[in-house]
């Protein structure tokens, strides 16, 4: 045998007996599991073929895009990786009955429950929801290894030793009972502006309050106050809500708001048009000046000598007839100062200087 032949033989012997190292490329994400609050989770990797040497895992990472958490493999593996599984799980998972021993411990809340992107180094990535991560304590997201589709199925965590099992971490706690809405109001009627304090008397756990004051205003406070600025009758509604539902209490027409009465007119003397304290010839002249020359008049009620709720030529004639004929005196208030004994009409009296 030639020297070269010996060398080739040696090379061949080494090739078939030396350990052949490979990377960790052929590991894929195989299963993701979480309970409702993220305290019990696992990530399972898998080599989906006969590849015995996918052992170079040191410093390779599993990451959550949503939480920013990262798991780093602390070492390379030893042993065949053909069709092997790796189980990286939280301590809470490890404590559950029926759970296979995790190969590595994962920090709690590694994955976001509502939605996340889980990346296995540069080799694999899973996104959820689609399907959503189930949180009923039993189901997990798994890969159909034949089709590559992600499916939901009962969890089957398996570790590197091949130990497998299934866990039930329990589902989320039931939502609280819906609250019962009720409220009280410190005042139910009054003149504008009416300040009202509303007090919540609802029962049960309440996450939010929603008040409707009935005048297109409202509040989200528990015990709000509100000022009604317009007259009217208002219906007040309170809706209270928690995770279990909501309830509404309505008080129909329970607040009545009225406008305040007009201020009282000043005392006056009917027929004393010029407000000098007596009825004489100057009064019909004042009325005629008011009527035909746009003269000033602060108290039209005084000009209304005949008390017909209007100021016209008849009032001047009424006074003249009273002064120079046999006509009656103007009605009350006359001759003393006083309020109109027959209120109504549209005549105004803002100032009357003829009374003390």
């Amino acid at each position: 045998m030639s020297r070269n032949s010996h060398l080739i033989l040696f090379v061949c012997l080494v090739m078939f007996t030396a350990p052949v190292f490979a990377g960790g490329h052929l590991w894929d994400i195989n299963e993701l599991y979480s309970n409702f609050d993220g305290s019990i989770q696992f990530v399972e990797l898998h080599v989906p073929m006969a590849a015995a040497n996918e052992t170079f895992m040191n410093n390779k990472f599993i990451r959550s895009l949503q939480t920013g958490e990262e798991f780093l493999f602390p070492e390379n593996l030893s042993g065949s990786t053909s069709f092997a599984h790796l189980l990286i799980a939280t301590q809470g998972f490890a404590n559950l009955p029926g759970a296979p021993t995790p190969d590595y411990i994962l920090q709690d809340n590694f994955m976001a429950v509502s939605g996340d992107t889980i990346t296995w180094h540069t080799y694999d990535v899973w996104n959820y929801p689609s399907p959503a991560l189930p949180i009923d304590g039993v189901m997990s997201i798994q890969k159909n290894l034949g089709t590559g589709q992600l499916i939901l199925a009962a969890n089957t965590p398996t570790n590197f030793s091949g130990d497998t099992g299934s866990v039930d971490a329990g589902g989320p706690p039931p939502p609280p009972a819906a609250p019962t809405a009720s409220f009280s109001i410190d005042i139910t009627s009054g003149e504008t502006p009416l300040d009202v304090v509303f007090s919540d008397t609802s029962t049960g756990t309440i996450d939010s309050w929603s008040w409707d004051y009935g005048d297109n205003n409202g509040s989200g406070s528990q015990n709000p106050s509100h000022t009604y600025t317009s007259a009217g009758t208002y219906t007040v509604t309170l809706t209270v809500t928690n995770a279990g539902g909501s309830d509404t209490s309505t008080c129909t027409g329970c607040i009545t708001v009225t406008d305040p009465p007009p201020p009282p007119s000043p005392s006056f003397i009917r027929g004393d048009a010029n407000q000098d304290g007596t009825i004489d010839i100057t009064d019909p002249i004042f009325s005629l000046t008011y009527l035909f020359s746009s003269g000033p008049a602060d108290c039209l009620q005084a000009l209304d000598a005949n008390d017909d709720n209007g100021v016209d030529l008849g009032d001047a004639i009424y006074i003249l007839t009273y002064l120079f004929g046999s006509g009656p005196a103007p009605t009350s208030p006359n001759p003393d100062c006083g309020q109109d004994s027959t209120p109504g009409g549209i005549l105004d009296c803002t100032v009357f200087s003829g009374c003390p």
Binding site: V14, M15, M49, L65, G68, V125, L145, G146, G148
Partner: protein
């Protein structure tokens, strides 16, 4: 077949076998790479690393199709050589099918050439060519080697130091080669932008988008 063609280039040169052995012992699972002297690389380590897309310890960089990969992490992630697996044991139905046809499985992102598995579309498409061929007697090829394009003289398509008989194969490899160039441009700023982006992931730190595949 491509693998047979590559193996045929090895010939009976014992130094080549020793090179193959050294690569095996240094952590590479090889299948049919060859030795070649390329003038562009004077470093002995680079000459050895070039045809196998390996890592040059002397210069502390890796090579993929003649491109210098300055990050060991990136070079390891590319893992630009074939891997011996029993393709009939792969659980993915599509992988088993495409492995029989030396194609690429888009579902698992694994490619297959001559029964060997490649971890990315880049390394698979490059494996369909002839890496750093010995015969550079064609003057057109000597101009194109290390670059991109078609040799008009012998109608071979060059993607870096990889030569393709099929223009279609060459252009497919060129797409991935250009994506690698984009990644290498990102590398000095953020390695995750480069590595993650090349493999289709958004950068966690910079929120940089993945490098499109194919490039727009």
């Amino acid at each position: 077949m491509y693998g047979v063609q590559r193996l045929s280039l090895i010939g009976n040169d014992l130094t080549v076998w020793l090179l193959l052995l050294s690569c095996l012992l240094s952590g590479c699972q090889l299948g049919g790479e060859k030795s070649i002297q390329y003038g562009a690389f004077s470093c002995e380590g680079c000459i050895e690393a070039l045809p196998i897309n390996g890592w040059c310890e002397s210069c502390s960089h890796g090579l993929v199709a003649g491109l210098v990969i300055p990050s060991r992490q990136f070079h390891e992630a590319l893992d630009a050589h074939g891997h011996e697996v029993d393709t009939e044991t792969i659980l993915c139905n599509l992988c088993r099918e495409v492995a029989r046809q030396d194609q690429f499985c888009p579902r698992c992102r694994h490619g297959f050439v001559a029964g060997q598995l490649y971890f990315s579309e880049l390394t698979w498409s490059l494996a369909r060519g002839d890496s750093a061929p010995t015969d550079l007697s064609c003057s057109g090829c000597r101009e194109h080697v290390g670059g991109l394009g078609d040799c008009k003289d012998c109608h071979r398509y060059w993607v870096g130091t990889v030569c393709f008989i099929s223009t279609q194969d060459g252009r497919r490899a060129e797409q991935q080669y250009r994506r690698l160039l984009v990644a290498l441009e990102r590398l000095p700023g953020c390695s995750e932008c480069a590595i993650g982006g090349f493999f289709g992931f958004q950068c966690r730190s910079c929120a940089t988008e993945p490098i499109p595949n194919p490039l727009k």
